[in-house]
C-alpha cells in the first residue's frame, strides 16, 4: 500500500478506537467526571499517567534534543523521570488520602483560605494553557507532514477528537483512552528504534545497542560517534558540559524534577485510584511505562545523529552530491525543516560544526537554486571551524529527528505510518489531561466552591463539560495563533510548578506549623521571582531586558533552571513568615494528621 493511504488507515483506526472507548466509558456523575469514580486499577492508572505525561515534546522533540546535546540531554531524561520519586514519596499518597478532586482544593482547605485557592487556580490555568497550546501545534504538524492536510485543518481534526472524548467521558473517558494511546505511542516509538538498533549494532534492545559495538566491529557506537563529531569540529557526544555549565545542568535537572512533581495534571491522576497504597504503587508503574520510552530515547538520539552524519557526509566523509541525496532530505527541505546552502560551491552537501545560516534559515519563497535546492536568503559567511576541511552547509530542525528517523534508516512504510499515529496519540493524550484539569478547576474550584456554592451536581457536571469545550476552543486558538511565548513554555510551566505549587503542597503535608500567611507569601515569592527572571531574560509580552547569556545569569543559572532557585526562596519565605504569624487552627492540624496515615488508628 502507498504510504499516504497506509497512514490514513492507521491514524483513522486509532481514532476509531479512541472514540469507541469514549462512548463505552461515559461519565454519569461529578465523581466520575473529575476522578473517574476513584476506581482505576493502579497499573491502568500508571499507563494513563505515562500517556498523560509524555507529550508531543517527549515523543517528537526529545530524542532530537538529545541527539544535538549529547551528554547534556541527560538533564531532560533525569528531570522528567526523577520527579516521580518525589511524587510517590512526598505528594501522591497523602493527596489521595485527602480524597477530594483538585489540587487547588487541597491548597484551599489546608490553608483555610479562598485566596490561596484562587492563587493556585491561576497558576494551574496558566501552566496548563501554555502547555496545551504546544500539544495542539504538535497534532497540526504531524497531520501536515504525514497526511498532507494543512497544519490548521490538522489542528481542527485534533480538537474535534479531544472534544468528543474529553467532554463526554471526563476523567473516566480520558483515562481509558489514555491507556489505549499509551499502547499506540509506545509501540510506535520502540518499533523503529528496535529496527535501527538491529541494523546498526545487531542488538534489538536500544538500551543495549547504545552501549554496544557497531555491526562491522569498528568500535563501539558511542566511541565512533565521539570521534566523528570531534573530526567535524563539535565537542564529543559523551563529554560533559560542552554546551552548558555544571551548575546550570544541576539547576535545570532539579527544576524539571520538582516541576514534574508539581504539575497539576500529573498530580490529579493519583486521585483516581481506590486506595492510598494504590497511589504509591501506581507512581511506580507510571515510571516503568515512562522509562520504556525515556531509556529508548537516548539510543534513538545517538543513532539518528550517527545516521545523519553518515548519510550527509557519505562514506568518505566529503559530502554527498545534492542530486544523489536521499528523498527524505528533500521532503523535509520542502517542509522548511532542512535547509542547504552550498558555501564552497561544489554541489555537495556537507555537515560540520558551525551554523550555515544567520539564525534560522529564511527561505526565498519557493525559488530554486542551480541544483534544485530551495534558496535561502540568510547564509552565514561559511567559514570552516579550525581543522575541518569544509564549513557546515545545512540546517536541520531537531524536531524532525524522530519523525524522519525511519525514513533515514530506510524502514518499511508501515513503520512510518505508525510514527504518525504515535505522535498524534502522544499529543492528544496530554492535551486531554490538561484540558480536564482546566475545566475541573473552573467548574469545581471557581463555581462550586467560590462563586456559586448552591449549584446542583447536575449543573456542576454540565458546567464542567461547557468549560472543557471552551478550554478546547482556547487551546485551538492558541495552536492556530501561537503567541510569541509558546517557545518559552517549557521554562515557564516547569519553573512555575516548581516554585509555586510544589513547595506549598509539600509544606502542607510535612509541616503542621505552616499557616496560610506562610503559604501565600511563599507562593507569591516563588511566582514573582521565577516569572520575573524568565521575563527579564526571555521576554514574554515585553522585549527581553538583557541578553540571555551566561555572563548575565544569576550564579550562572539559565531561565530554564531558575525554578529551582524560586523553589528555595519559596521554602525560606514560607518558613520565616509562618513563624512570625499565628499557628493554623486546630482542625487544620487534625487534617494534616489525618492525611498522613492511610486509615485511622
Amino acid at each position: 500500500m502507498e504510504l499516504q493511504t497506509l497512514t490514513y488507515f492507521v491514524v483513522g483506526l486509532s481514532f476509531a478506537l479512541y472514540i469507541g472507548i469514549a462512548f463505552w466509558s461515559r461519565a454519569s456523575s461529578t465523581s466520575e467526571f473529575y476522578v473517574a469514580g476513584k476506581g482505576i486499577h493502579p497499573i491502568a492508572n500508571g499507563m494513563a499517567t505515562a500517556a498523560d505525561w509524555m507529550s508531543a515534546a517527549s515523543f517528537i522533540s526529545m530524542a532530537g534534543l538529545i541527539a544535538f546535546l549529547g551528554y547534556e540531554g541527560g538533564m531532560y531524561l533525569m528531570g522528567w523521570t526523577g520527579g516521580y520519586v518525589l511524587l510517590a514519596t512526598l505528594l501522591a499518597p497523602y493527596l489521595r488520602k485527602f480524597g477530594k478532586y483538585t489540587v487547588p482544593e487541597f491548597i484551599g482547605d489546608r490553608y483555610y483560605s479562598q485566596l490561596a485557592r484562587v492563587v493556585a487556580v491561576v497558576c494551574l490555568i496558566f501552566i496548563s494553557f501554555t502547555y496545551v497550546a504546544g500539544q495542539m501545534r504538535g497534532v497540526g504538524i504531524v497531520f501536515s507532514r504525514f497526511l498532507e492536510v494543512s497544519v490548521d485543518n490538522g489542528l481542527f481534526i485534533g480538537m474535534g477528537i479531544v472534544f468528543i472524548y474529553a467532554v463526554l467521558g471526563g476523567m473516566k473517558g480520558i483515562t481509558y483512552t489514555q491507556v489505549a494511546q499509551y499502547c499506540v505511542l509506545i509501540f510506535a516509538y520502540t518499533v523503529p528504534a528496535i529496527f535501527i538498533a538491529l541494523q546498526t549494532t545487531g542488538f534489538a534492545l536500544p538500551q543495549i545497542a547504545l552501549g554496544a559495538e557497531v555491526i562491522d566491529g569498528s568500535g563501539t557506537l558511542l566511541a565512533k560517534l565521539d570521534r566523528s563529531l570531534l573530526d567535524l569540529g563539535f565537542g564529543a557526544y559523551t563529554a560533559p558540559f560542552n554546551d552548558k555549565s555544571m551548575i546550570d545542568v544541576f539547576a535545570i535537572t532539579l527544576a524539571l524534577m520538582v516541576g514534574t512533581a508539581g504539575l497539576p495534571h500529573v498530580i490529579v491522576r493519583f486521585f483516581t485510584v481506590p486506595k492510598v497504597r494504590d497511589a504509591r504503587l501506581s507512581a511506580g508503574w507510571a515510571l516503568v511505562f515512562i522509562a520504556i520510552l525515556y531509556t529508548t530515547a537516548p539510543a534513538v538520539g545517538a543513532l539518528a545523529r550517527t545516521n545523519m552524519i553518515h548519510t550527509v557526509n557519505g562514506v568518505e566523509q566529503k559530502g554527498t552530491a545534492y542530486k544523489e541525496i536521499p528523498d527524505w532530505f528533500k521532503t523535509w527541505e520542502n517542509a522548511g525543516l532542512i535547509a542547504w546552502y552550498d558555501h564552497n560551491d561544489d554541489g555537495h552537501v556537507q555537515y560540520a560544526a558551525g551554523s550555515a545560516f544567520e539564525g534560522k534559515p529564511q527561505f526565498d519563497g519557493d525559488k530554486r537554486g542551480k541544483h534544485g535546492e530551495r534558496l535561502v536568503k540568510n547564509p552565514s559567511e561559511g567559514k570552516p571551524v579550525e581543522n575541518v576541511a569544509f564549513a557546515n552547509e545545512i540546517y536541520v530542525d531537531r524536531d524532525i529527528m524522530v519523525l524522519a528517523n525511519p525514513e533515514i534508516a530506510g524502514l518499511p512504510n508501515w513503520v512510518i505510518a505508525l510514527i504518525a499515529a504515535g505522535g498524534i496519540a502522544a499529543a492528544l493524550s496530554t492535551a486531554a489531561g490538561l484540558l480536564l484539569v482546566i475545566s475541573v478547576s473552573v467548574s469545581h474550584d471557581l463555581l462550586k466552591s467560590t462563586f456559586t456554592p448552591q449549584i446542583s451536581e447536575k449543573n456542576e457536571l454540565l458546567a464542567g463539560r461547557i468549560a472543557a469545550a471552551f478550554a478546547i476552543g482556547i487551546a485551538g486558538y492558541l495552536g492556530l495563533h501561537p503567541p510569541a511565548f509558546v517557545a518559552q513554555v517549557v521554562a515557564f510551566a516547569f519553573g512555575l510548578a516548581a516554585s509555586s505549587l510544589f513547595p506549598v503542597i509539600l509544606l502542607g503535608i510535612f509541616s503542621k506549623r505552616m499557616n496560610k500567611w506562610g503559604a501565600i507569601c511563599g507562593m507569591l515569592t516563588g511566582l514573582v521571582f521565577t516569572s520575573g527572571y524568565i521575563i527579564y531574560f526571555k521576554g514574554v509580552f515585553i522585549a527581553p531586558t538583557v541578553a540571555n547569556i551566561p555572563e548575565n545569569w544569576l550564579f550562572g543559572i539559565s531561565p530554564e533552571g531558575i525554578g529551582s532557585v524560586g523553589m528555595v526562596l519559596n521554602f525560606v519565605v514560607a518558613y520565616i513568615v509562618s513563624y512570625l504569624t499565628p499557628a493554623p487552627p486546630q482542625e487544620v492540624q487534625a487534617l494534616v494528621e489525618d492525611i498522613r496515615v492511610p486509615k485511622s488508628f
Binding site: 551528554y71 514519596t89 538500551q207 552501549g211 560533559p240 544541576f250 531509556t295 537516548p298 496515615v597 488508628f601
Partner: protein
C-alpha cells in the same frame, strides 16, 4: 498519639533513604562526579554518561517500588493497611 508519631517517623525514615539514593545517582553520579566516573566504563558506555542517560532512570523505578513495598509493610505493622 504515640502510634501516630512512630508511624510518621517510620515513613520519614523510608523517604529519607529513597531521597538519599535519588540524589546520589542523579545529582552526584550523573552531574557532579560525571567527569571522574567517565574514566570507568560499563560495556560501551562511559559510567558517568550511563548514569545520566540510563542508570539513574532504572534506579528511580526501583526506588518507587521499594518505597511502596516498605510502606505496605509499615502500614501492616501499625494496623493501618487498607484491605
Amino acid at each position: 498519639m504515640e502510634n501516630k508519631n512512630a508511624y510518621w517517623r517510620a515513613n520519614l525514615r523510608v523517604i529519607a533513604i529513597c531521597l538519599f539514593v535519588w540524589f546520589l545517582v542523579s545529582f552526584v553520579f550523573a552531574i557532579l562526579l560525571v567527569e571522574p566516573l567517565n574514566n570507568f566504563s560499563l560495556g560501551g558506555y562511559k559510567l558517568g554518561f550511563w548514569f545520566a542517560q540510563q542508570g539513574s532512570i532504572y534506579v528511580f523505578v526501583v526506588l518507587i517500588f521499594f518505597y511502596s513495598w516498605q510502606m505496605n509493610r509499615i502500614d501492616q505493622q501499625f494496623g493501618v493497611y487498607e484491605e
